[in-house]
Amino acid sequence: MKRLAIYSIIRKDIRGITVNTRLFASIWIVPIIFTVFFPSIFVFSIHMVPDDPDFIKLLEQFPASLQMESTDLSIIALIANYILPVFFLMIPIMTASIMAASAFVGEKERRTLETLLYCPLTLKEIFHAKVLASFLLSMFVSLSSFLVMLIVLEVEVFFLMGSLLVPGISWLIVMLLIAPAISLIAITLIVLGSAKAKSVEEAQQSAVFLVIPIILLFVGQFSGVLFLGNWVLLGLGILCAGAAFVLLLQSMKHFTYEKLLK
């Protein structure tokens, strides 16, 4: 019974975004820039620009496992495996921020929050449904973007360099563990902000100027972490997932209906 109720809140929230075609289109703009535009610029630039001897020297410093059959391919593989994964930490956070920021305060402004609170779910369950709705949408956008990026990259590399790129194992850890965990942390914090905010604008401002910059500060260091190896990456992923889980469980502890409707 509760599962059906939570599922219906998630479906209603996601539908609220998808029926608004302008909003839904804006959710896709950043992922398309990150997954189609930027990678294509990298591939074409690397292919067009003549080899720089300094850069070749730099490449030689990297482990043999990172060396490919040509300099161009080595650089593209380096970018694909160490720079592009960082984008996939940003995409779900930025996608979810629009939906998560209005999770509670949006309902309050439309005067539908009180009605929602009258359903037989606890505050915590309603909160989890709200977080899950934003999380599922962000994961859908993120995984679709990954698929699009993979197709675009492979097609471009194949036609320009006559070879195919094999994504590293780190992609698997990033896409299935680290990105979901970090976006869950960000979404939980943004939804929590939405529960406290007085208006959608206030919730969006705290998401854009507080939560996202702090998360991105951490994400900015991520290229370096990728060089430390897959086991370190896996450990970090498990740590983030644990932190996300604890945050999700603890976040609505001190909330009451009265505080939420204030």
């Binding site: 059906l4 599922y7 005067r111 009258y118 606890t122 409707l261």
Partner: protein
């Protein structure tokens, strides 16, 4: 089991406003309880306390023996709640809204569809079932809110001003529905309103609130007896009866106070014996409005 039990319930907001002061009352299943009073009397606050939305400053309340403070979600499972601030989604149709709220109560899709169609028909909204709520009038929204509150077959209905903003025809329709629910489905109804005339048509028992204080509770007869010492006998006659305590009210109407209906036959006999021509005799019982104004006047005098 009692539908509602309230004991010494008080609520003071952070601003210092005492919205409810030491309220105690109870409500049986199947009763339509009219919780009456002007705006700001504390009616909505009481509904919010009973549904767990507000935390009381002191005192206790229980709904079907459930504590709204610790088991609000279980109280919601047995309650249908309509308040001014509990609106539905404008971007969804009437049918989609009802289906959504049904699913939040764990009702499966096929049953929810059947129940929604029945309620839409009962509230005469079948023709508008595929229209988005954004295009609904106030009356249509209010009727849909009632349908939404009934979607999970609640045991108690909390209705906070359910007819505010409705035209008389729609208000009448809503009241008929409330009466029907109480008599046929044995649902307890906690009806908050400041429209005393409508309340008198629907409720079986009343509680009159003013400035957070419950002035009195009881059936209409009990309130009449406790507030007024008698009734008013009104006659239309060709002249003022001599030696009788009648007062002229203009247009050949005369009134006098009587303690009980037993006094009427003797009075009429005396009038006829005096040769007074009588065209009309009626007993005017105090209405809920009369009782309310008498009580609030007493309250003011007390200060």
């Amino acid at each position: 089991m009692q539908a509602i039990t309230i004991q010494n319930l008080s609520k003071t907001y952070e601003t210092g406003k005492e919205a409810v002061k030491n309220l105690s009352l109870s409500l049986e299943a199947g009763e339509v309880f009219g919780f009456l009073g002007p705006n700001g009397a504390g009616k909505t606050t009481t509904v919010k306390l009973l549904t767990g939305i507000l935390t009381p400053t002191s005192g206790t309340c229980r709904v079907f023996d459930l504590d709204p403070q610790t088991e609000a979600n279980r109280v919601h499972a047995v309650s249908g709640i309509v308040t001014e601030h509990a609106q539905m989604y404008d971007h969804l149709t009437a049918m989609e809204n009802l289906m959504f709220y049904a699913s939040t109560f764990g009702i499966n899709r096929s049953e929810a569809k059947k129940r929604s169609e029945t309620l839409l028909a009962e509230f005469e909204l079948t023709d508008a079932k595929d229209q988005k709520l954004a295009s609904f009038s106030t009356g249509m929204r209010q009727r849909l809110s009632l349908a939404r509150a009934l979607i999970h077959r609640p045991s108690i209905l909390f209705l906070d001003e359910p007819t505010s903003g409705l035209d008389p025809e729609n208000a009448q329709r809503v009241h008929q529905m409330i009466r029907k629910l109480a008599s046929e489905e044995h649902i307890a109804v906690f009806l908050c309103t400041h429209q005393l005339r409508y309340a008198q048509e629907v409720c079986t028992r009343y509680g009159l609130m003013d400035e957070g204080t419950l002035l009195v509770t009881g059936t209409l007869e009990e309130l009449r007896t406790s507030t007024f010492s008698g009734q008013t006998l009104s006659i239309r006659a060709d002249r003022l009866p001599a030696g009788l305590p009648f007062v002229s009210c203009g247009d050949s109407f005369y009134t006098t106070s009587i303690r009980s209906e037993q006094e009427i036959p003797d009075l009429i006999r005396t009038l006829v014996a005096q040769g007074v021509n009588l065209y009309e005799v009626s007993v005017k019982k105090p209405s809920l409005e009369d009782i309310y104004f008498a009580l609030t006047a007493k309250q003011t005098e007390g200060f």
